[in-house]
Assembly symmetry: C2
């Protein structure tokens, strides 16, 4: 039984994209220019076309060119009042009983397309990308494996939402294949490293938020106001090469082990759409410093899963089920921390959560943890086993919220690992 | 005695900007739109104005709008053949005896301005910024101070041009003041960190190169071809908060200790202009992996200095003299490494060298090293002492090449440290 609003277009009951969602993305039809769009059920809706037909004329938006740009940065920069009004308008247009769009055959033809007949492009131009490390379960697992099982968490971890800068240029949209990276490794800790394709290619199950409002250099965002600067969220697959990472990461952090390709889901879900699924996060002990103190429901209950499908198997195997609500550090704290030193943010920046692992082994968000560094290979549905990702494997991440019969989701974030070039 | 070519405009003998230089930058006159420009002697020359008067019409440049854009990314994207032709044209126009521009009073009035009467803006939009760690003297000094004096260099250092991703949004042009950052530190390694303005604010003397040609994701740049992708260079002051860095940087590297403001010199010097100053770099032992092997003169002899001037002193004190030629890893190796895993690059990316220290204490490129972690304070000309940078101190970096009577320089990269907000 669904509590979802009814529409005059078909929305399957279990769709990630009911009228309560109205996410934003960029689509391309054939060789046409890219267009801002939303998705409802299995239908992609062009905002360019809706704008052509005047449906956004009375929303007080002075610069309508944002509905024709190849990335959403301009649209997002309108601010939440305006983008929220656009969401509301779109929802009204598609509600059962509303004839405004439905009765305009030309507009319907220009704006509506089967979602599987359009290409999704990167929704935003990413100025800067930060990757946090905010799951205590993940940080503990990694600490146990690589450092000290008895002191797995480093002393700073419960005080700082640890993060580092990543590469913006190599963030790509779901559906893009990524070549297995080559690099230096030192498998035997010998005097000489070796060069070649990584033998320990991994996914990292993450969520990322996209900023919607810029700050000046020198300005800090108070933790209580951080959500005003967050436009929405996507699924984020932070592909990682563990053997390269192990050799390179001391003392300045991960570099080539992480920047060969990160994959995001195509539709940005607004914080507004995710509002009904807010929950409290884990208790933070010891108490954090004042600039990180925030109350209320700052986590979001988002079900996550990762599926793996080798080329020669017919069906995928779900290898991990986790939840975004496990995050120790929430998005408000991450953004307050990122800017506490005056670091400026821009519209379209991405801030990824870090691998989201739960308590149980089946909820670990990386192959590294799921196979415990390759020591416990996973058996897949079709009979193959995996320590890490192999060539031509398809990795698919999914994320959705569900409560009181309402389901809102992110769709899929998928990539195929191509052989090293 | 100068071997510099003569011009019909005045070029002081010791100028960083003779006709052999012709760097590129962005200037702004009053409230006018930003304009691409070059600098000759003490004169800023607007490329927009030269283009207005048709001086670039016959260079085979289809898209002349690049001479009117607020950043140089479009101009640089023309490719080296075109940008080199523009340099050559500008040089010809200003050579003694050439009347083409000189005799056109309107064009001269429109294009030429005293350099100190225009504002310099960021020369490029920086897509991604990488900071390397390529000075063996600096890495050794840091290793001695923070890790093991007997094993100062980590095992990977002689095999990998170690680097990490930094923040693009907070890279600003020379002349911009930077507020002292606030953040978490743990001075006593106690159970609780403290929050406040950094007490160990430092500069890092670096040079950075700017890429001029993009690659596709999955593509690698062979080390022998790397210079084709490098457009030019700037001075780079990688401001750092040592106490914040110490507490935050394990295990994922520097983050808030580095991203509150980095300052670059306003004029990008082309590799072409720097050609006469090429030298061989230090011998690399053990031999590097094949993808990093490169022959010829890959280093550049660039004299570097850093001066400090407290607010209450009348004159600055040069606290460091170093040279870019000391770099263990050269730019070709850095770029080959950056892309060996398929990481894509874009026009306008910045790649900083890491702190450039020489062998002698007076050549160390940071206060951390110059004062050996604050244990040997520096005495300044006006009588003040400094362990680290204090509020209202002005830090100025300079860089120039000199050979056979020819001097080519970068001008200044300067910033004033403002009190914490």
């Amino acid at each position: 039984m669904s509590s979802q609003k009814k529409s005059w277009i078909n929305i399957p009951d279990d769709s990630d994209f009911p009228l309560e969602n109205i996410p934003f993305g960029i689509i391309q039809k054939g060789e046409n220019p890219p267009e801002p769009a939303t998705r409802i059920g299995d239908t992609a809706v062009s905002l360019s076309a809706l704008c052509d037909y005047g449906y956004f004329d009375d929303l007080g938006i002075d610069d309508l060119t944002v509905f024709y740009q190849p990335v959403l940065n301009g649209f997002i920069s309108l601010g939440k009042a305006k983008t929220s009004a656009v969401r509301k308008r779109i929802r009204e247009l598609f509600e059962e009983g509303n004839e405004s769009l439905k009765s305009n055959g030309d507009a319907v033809n220009a704006a509506l397309f089967p979602a599987n007949k359009v290409k999704n492009l990167m929704p935003v131009y990413v100025g800067d990308y930060t990757d946090f490390y905010s799951s205590i379960e993940h940080a503990t697992n990694v600490g146990k494996m690589f450092r000290d099982p008895d002191n797995a968490l480093l002393p700073n971890w419960r005080h700082i939402p640890v993060g580092y800068h990543g590469r913006s240029s190599s963030i790509v949209v779901s559906g893009t294949g990524i070549h297995r990276p080559k690099g230096q490794t030192n498998p035997d800790n010998g005097p000489k490293p070796v060069f070649g394709p990584t033998k320990q290619l991994d996914f990292e199950l993450e969520m990322a938020f996209v900023t919607g409002k810029e700050t000046e250099l020198g300005e800090s965002i108070p933790v209580e106001k951080a959500e005003e600067y967050i436009f929405g969220m996507v699924i984020f697959n932070d592909l990682s090469a563990r053997d390269i990472q192990k050799w390179e990461y001391v003392p300045l952090g991960p570099f080539l082990s992480k920047n060969f390709g990160s994959v995001v889901s195509p539709w940005i879900l607004t914080l507004e759409a995710l509002e009904p699924f807010r929950v409290k996060g884990p208790e933070q002990k010891p108490e954090v410093l004042p600039y990180l103190r925030v109350s209320g429901k700052r986590n979001i209950d988002i079900n996550l899963e990762v599926a793996l499908k080798p080329e020669n198997e017919n069906e995928e195997t779900v290898v991990c089920r986790s939840n975004f609500k496990y995050m120790y550090w929430n998005m408000s704290q991450q953004l307050a921390h990122q800017t506490v030193n005056g670091c400026n943010i821009r519209v379209g920046d991405m801030y990824a959560s870090g691998t989201i692992s739960g308590h149980e082994p089946g909820s670990y968000g990386s192959m590294l943890e799921l196979t415990w560094r390759g020591t416990k290979p996973l058996r897949l549905a079709g009979g193959n086993t995996r320590k890490f990702i192999e060539d031509n494997d398809i990795v698919t991440m999914r994320a959705f919220c569900k409560k009181d019969g309402l389901r809102i989701g992110f769709g899929e974030c998928t990539t195929k690992i191509l052989p090293a070039k």
